[in-house]
Amino acid sequence: MSVAMKNLKTFPGGLHPPDNKQWSADKPIEDCPMPDELVIPLAQHIGAPAEACVEAGELVKKGQLVGTAKGFVSVPIHASTSGEVVAVEPRPHPMGKALPAVVIKPDGEDAWLPGLQGGDPASLSPVELRDRIRDAGIVGMGGATFPAHVKLSPPEDKPIDTLILNGVECEPYLTADHRLMLERPEAILGGIAILQKILGVKRTCIGIEANKPDAIEQLTAATSDLPIEVVPLQVKYPQGAEKQLILAITGREVPSGGLPMDVGVVVQNVGTCTAIDDAVRRGLPLVERIATITGPGVVEPKNLRIRVGTSLQYLVDQCGGLKGEPAKIIMGGPMMGMAQLSLDVPATRGTSGLLLFTSENVPVRPEGPCLRCGRCVRACPARILPTTIAAYARLDLTDEAEAYHAMDCIECGCCTYSCPAALPLVQAIRGAKGAILAKRRKG
């Protein structure tokens, strides 16, 4: 063990839920077979949904554009295999409603679009590199799916001096980034080189939680003669949240209402990094990703390389199926992921994991009165007062909630997790944030 594990950097607040990563941490990434149908939603990212540019009956190749970006904060969508477009229609979406999607019936050949060409990052200008990233439809792969090219286009007056790679993977259960760091370090380093060139940064760090010593060791060895620091971090949720990661590594605090670029930092997930490497060096658009299918409700947890648009049911079938009726299906991690109505929805570019729980694992506690114990306040990494804001939110006192900095909530869920009275705190704060934004839009 070459990494010193004492006095690790971290942020104030947070907590450490049982991480349950042991079920899938040692499972190498497997390729998920081809499903009978791929449902590729046109809304897979933060920002404006893409607009379909193919029609039913058309034949497409893997990597072909099927949806064009609408606006700057938007990305194009590509076919994740070759085959026939059978429909362009609203289909059930992980958001809980039917949203427009391109449905492809695979022809089994999985043939890439001819003419997809990689390039040498050294000979491309930063602007060309950024355009390639945008055209490949790259979004933040940690789960938030924010278009990568937007983060890589900081305004002139916000110089960026530090690039942070997020390999923290602080959400319990998930091991997709962990496996990626072990299995594709060269792609991560390739992506870093591209990001360094675009941003012109002085300092580059890879933040990894100390519960992944093998990944820390591997990347430390791989970066020994490169200007990249591997920073082991204390095992604490939400260490991988953007603002908390910046604070832990650089000591800089993103101001209230600000963005990482306000303190001269850009953060990208390691998964995004490999996608950028594939997009620039090999010319491949973002049509697949790594996802962890795990939880006590699935027979054999696995890390799978999945095509965007594969149904969750199909993913579960590849892992030996369900153990009994699932009581809870979560896309993403257990703390910030989205509960799903059924397995009849497609995986998207943001599907970092799929968790299945049976009824024994989903205790429902009755909601009690606030005990004023302050555990949520101690746990809150944004250092706001969750119980106060939630109380205002439930009385529809939007202005008061805003005055208590509801908008600084990162929705990590530490407050709800820590509450002994089982109060839906983060849920109420999210409601308040929605009301505040609606009010601001009204003017």
Partner: protein, 279 residues
């Protein structure tokens, strides 16, 4: 002792004189009629008139010398008092009552998921458009009951909002609080209503609710003048609702109710207090 009495008494006297002078000098002139109107208003500050609270309404009437809007909770009685104070003709407004156009409680309507968040309909509606499979049915989490200034809405044990016709003043506050627009304002003299809000086709409605309107037209065939069907949903023609009652028996899903025969199942409100008390 004496010094203390004198000094404290002196301070008190000086303050009293100063305050008395200030009260005369800086007195705000209030139209006595405004005060009189405020006294006869229900003072629920419900906002149904469109003005900020009862004082806003009283100020509007007193300063503009006309009664630009009715006070629905006050009704004809309050309107007459205000008209007397102002020496103006009263504004006629048809008395209205809020009706929850849904009877699909947890026993009768299907849920698509088990909701565990904030106990509030607006919050629940944001999670995949609400836990109820029916996209237009009552979510039963009581947001309307909490905003009602007259305590006229109760939630049945099976999660259905029911509005007391005796207590409801027709202020309409619940209507704007409901994220699914399940509550409608209806004329008070009509007691027969189609209690369904779903515009889905019959087959779909049958899948998610036992007591929804399937748009079968039987009510319209039975009482052609009293019902109209739009987008697979029947509604009473309130201008001509005399015959509405005869269709109740014929409705296959029993989604038409005469409130004179009682409130929806599970409600603790009793039928005899079906109408608003006079006065």
């Amino acid at each position: 002792m004496l010094a203390a009495i004198l000094s404290l008494g002196g301070i008190g006297l000086a303050a009293a004189v100063a305050l008395g002078f200030a009260a005369k000098k800086f007195a705000v002139e209030v139209d006595p009629r405004e005060q009189a109107i405020l006294e006869v208003l229900p003072n629920a500050n419900c906002g149904a008139c469109g003005f900020p609270g009862c004082s806003g309404y009283a100020k509007m009437v007193a300063t503009s010398d006309k009664i630009a809007a009715a006070c629905p909770p006050g009704g004809a009685v309050v309107m007459e008092k205000i008209a007397n104070i102002m020496g103006l003709a009263p504004v006629e407004a048809e008395p209205m009552v809020a009706v929850v156009l849904c009877q699909g409680d947890d026993g009768k309507a299907r849920q698509k998921y088990h909701y565990l968040g904030v106990h509030d309909c607006v919050a629940a509606q944001k999670v995949a458009d609400g836990p109820k499979t029916c996209p237009s049915g009552c979510l039963g989490l009581g947001t309307c009951a909490r905003v009602c200034p007259f305590d006229a809405i109760e939630m049945t044990p099976d999660g259905l909002a029911v509005i007391s016709r005796a207590r409801c003043t027709g202020c309409g506050k619940c209507v704007s609080s409901c994220p699914r627009s399940v509550i409608g304002m209806k004329p008070l003299d009509a007691t027969v209503h189609v209690l369904c809000n779903s515009h889905d086709k019959g087959g779909l409605v049958r899948k998610y609710c036992d007591i929804g309107c399937i748009g079968c037209m039987i009510c319209k065939k039975t009482a052609p003048t009293a019902y109209e069907i739009e987008n697979f949903l029947a509604s009473v023609v309130y201008e001509n609702h005399g015959d509405a009652e005869v269709a109740i028996e014929k409705c296959p899903t029993k989604c038409i109710r005469n409130f004179m025969d009682g409130y929806p199942e599970g409600s603790s409100f009793s039928a005899p207090t079906c109408m608003r008390e006079a006065g």
